[in-house]
């Protein structure tokens, strides 16, 4: 199968982006350089093409019922325009995906990881049996970009009919961009304030160039990865998988066991009482060498403790950081471990997540 291309692919290619396969798509991993792009998002505003993320809409009288059944967080308690993070789990409590659910006056929408689009669409298809719900994959109808960083909102001033500055964090609004309907959402995956914007494909390039003209700097998935790592955010396929449950992933806050039945609830409830499972931790690694995914962790007696799920040198905190699953006995901040970096045991310390937290203005 050939890789999918976003409506901004030609722009990326023309502007010397380095394009790499990601989640079934050819995506820009960097333009000027990951370090510079990373720092731009922490200090000003970076612009990301995230059109590869899957967008699914839900309509019909049973949309709420379906979402409550497949989503770990509460949907019924959401206000119109509210956005909520949560998990889609299987019966065993394993994570099928981590997603955002949007509530609109007329229905719901979800943003799903690119690499899980087909899996989740199939899962929804099997779970909808007997329900009156209309599910539409709108991934290919719209262009989705993220503007992230402390200057994001001021750079967008006056662009949309609605003022995004009036949005609370994790709220979204349908509005207008150049006489077309669009959605502006105060969400992101970088640890910074910012917006995620969905416009019809015909306006994708115009929006992208408009934001650049206003001062946003194009950033690739490389910076997106180091930014989310610093912000302690899990990435599906790394920290999250069908072999991992939400409790050990540190995502109990996104699971509402008391909201009523949902798929995986009973299994997750058991995991919540379990004392012996490995849990996700943040690690600060000595020196500047990255402890990359798959690096092995050991304890004081050389006993095998686990492996790194994501690890990189992180430009803003200026340190080698990693996330990993380790036994609970080694999961408290201050716990000292060794991580094998290309044959060299390197000291690492468990530190609280997130590694980086923005100052709220």
């Amino acid at each position: 199968m050939s890789a999918l291309r976003t409506p901004l692919y030609d722009w990326h290619a023309e502007h010397k982006a380095r394009l790499v396969p990601f989640g079934g798509w050819d995506m820009p991993v960097q333009y000027a350089g990951i370090v510079a792009e990373h720092k731009t998002v922490r200090t000003a505003a970076g612009l990301f093409d995230i059109s590869h993320m899957a967008r699914v809409s839900f309509g019909g009288p049973d949309a709420l019922k379906l979402l409550e059944a497949v989503f770990s967080n509460s949907v019924a308690g959401m206000k119109d325009g509210q956005v909520r993070y949560g998990l889609v789990c299987n019966e065993a409590g394993g994570i099928l995906d981590d997603i955002l659910v949007y509530r609109w006056p007329y229905g719901f929408a979800a943003v799903v990881n690119a690499g899980n689009r087909v899996k989740i669409l199939n899962w929804l298809e099997t779970q909808r049996t007997g329900l009156n719900v209309e599910i539409k994959d709108q991934t290919f109808d719209t262009t989705m970009v993220a503007i992230q960083g402390p200057r994001s909102l001021e750079l967008c001033a006056g662009m949309f009919e609605a003022d995004p500055g009036g949005l609370k964090y994790y709220f979204a609004t349908p509005t207008r961009y150049r006489d077309a309907n669009c959605v502006v959402s105060r969400t992101g995956y970088t640890g910074e304030d910012g917006l995620e914007i969905m416009v019809p494909n015909a306006l994708g390039a115009a929006l992208w160039e408009d934001l650049i003209a206003r001062g946003a700097v194009p950033c690739g998935l490389g910076a997106r990865d180091t930014l989310r790592l610093e912000a302690g955010m899990p990435l599906y396929g790394h920290e999250l998988s069908e072999e991992i449950n939400p409790i050990q992933a540190g995502l109990a806050w996104a699971v509402k066991l008391e909201k009523g039945e949902f798929i995986g609830r009973d299994a997750i409830r058991k995991f919540a009482e379990e004392q012996h499972q490995s849990v996700r931790v943040g690690l600060k690694v000595d020196g500047k060498r990255a402890a990359r995914e798959g690096s092995v962790l050991s304890g004081p007696d050389r006993e095998l403790l686990g492996t790194v799920t994501s690890g990189s040198f992180c430009p803003w905190v200026d340190a080698s950081l990693a996330m990993a699953y380790v036994p609970q006995a080694y999961s408290n901040p201050g716990a000292a471990l060794d991580v094998d970096i290309r044959g060299t045991p390197t000291p690492a310390t468990v530190v609280p997540l997130p590694f980086y937290k923005r100052k709220k203005g």
């Binding site: 991993v29 960097q30 350089g33 990951i34 370090v35 510079a36 990373h38 490389g222 180091t226 020196g287 500047k288 060498r289 990255a290 990359r292 990189s312 040198f313 430009p315 290309r342």
Partner: protein
């Protein structure tokens, strides 16, 4: 420094010979692959190197690569400035981004290394 006068290894190190001292760094192609260098590990002065064997490690946000000795010999000098700030490699890998000066071992030569034209042909063959 003339790029045409240098010799090149398959693993993308350049070598510039002056008498029996060979200055070594990595090529622009290698730098482009790496992107911003975040960490560099080089041998100490006095270390003995063997042509084709690793002498160090270079790392960026996205990748880590071994560095291979293009020639056999003894390390006479190490670019100490790179330890504190490896960005010189990104700025000018053929100038301030040099890594080592190696004194050629007795009988060692650069004959096994590629000319600029041969190296460019290798890059073209690999599709770059």
């Amino acid at each position: 420094m003339s790029l045409d006068a240098m010799r090149y290894a398959k693993s993308h190190e350049w070598s510039q010979v002056d008498g029996n001292i060979v200055t070594v760094g990595i090529t622009q192609y290698a730098v482009d692959q790496l992107t911003d260098v975040t960490h560099l590990q080089l041998p100490k002065v006095g270390a003995t190197l063997t042509a084709g064997k690793p002498f160090g490690e270079i790392e960026s946000v996205k990748a880590v690569f071994d560095l291979y000795a293009p020639v056999s010999g003894t390390v006479k000098d190490v670019n100490a400035k790179l330890a504190a700030d490896p960005s010189a490699i990104n700025l000018d890998c053929y100038g301030p981004g040099w890594m080592l000066k190696i004194e050629l071992a007795p009988g060692a030569t650069l004959d096994h290394l590629m000319t600029k034209a041969q190296y460019d042909a290798q890059l073209a063959e690999e599709g770059h």
